[in-house]
Amino acid sequence: MELADRAVGFLLTFTSLSIFTYYTFWVIILPFVDSDNFIHNYFLPQEYAILIPVCAGVVLLSLLCIFIGLVLLKSKKKKA
């Protein structure tokens, strides 16, 4: 249905824009703010700005490799 497609598309754009603004704010703008400002409560400590994308990337790559391995095993089983 057209409406479901539009809803999914809107959700995707919204999440991508929010992630981008949050990450930009976190990495670029926040170090200029004084350390006792209230806004620091809304953001995690700055080490996580690098840990979280790296962990997400590692998880993504491992899932990809698992998927490829499963597909290869299934094809080999079908041939034998």
Partner: protein
Amino acid sequence: MLFTSFYSPASHWLCISFFLSCTVLLHLFKGFKWFEIKIRTPELVFIANPVKHVLKLLSLLVVISALWIGLLQASIIPQSHTWLLPIYFIVSLGCYGLFMVGVGLMRFPTCPQEALLLQQDIAEAKDFLKQKGVDVGSN
């Protein structure tokens, strides 16, 4: 840990100015419309001159990484900021891809009139084949 050891606003300003100069370097892509990498027809994705585009992208990446490594080696930017640039670019690339997919989904043309005409054509073809004796046999 990262971002906490010998951090100073001056070094951070240098990082920011570096990012901005990268956007200036993006003028290599002058004339290339970012929004044209979208699904025009449901089966094909068009980029004009793909080889030239790939070469431009690679040269841009090489220049940016050379400048970043140069800045790091000259100790203008502290070592704790090493991974700032690549991870930021990768995250923004992922966000850009997701954004393009979402926008393409929202603007997908469904062509309701053509769908109706197609249904009429299918009914016509079924009648024709039934007359000739071929059993179409769906539903």
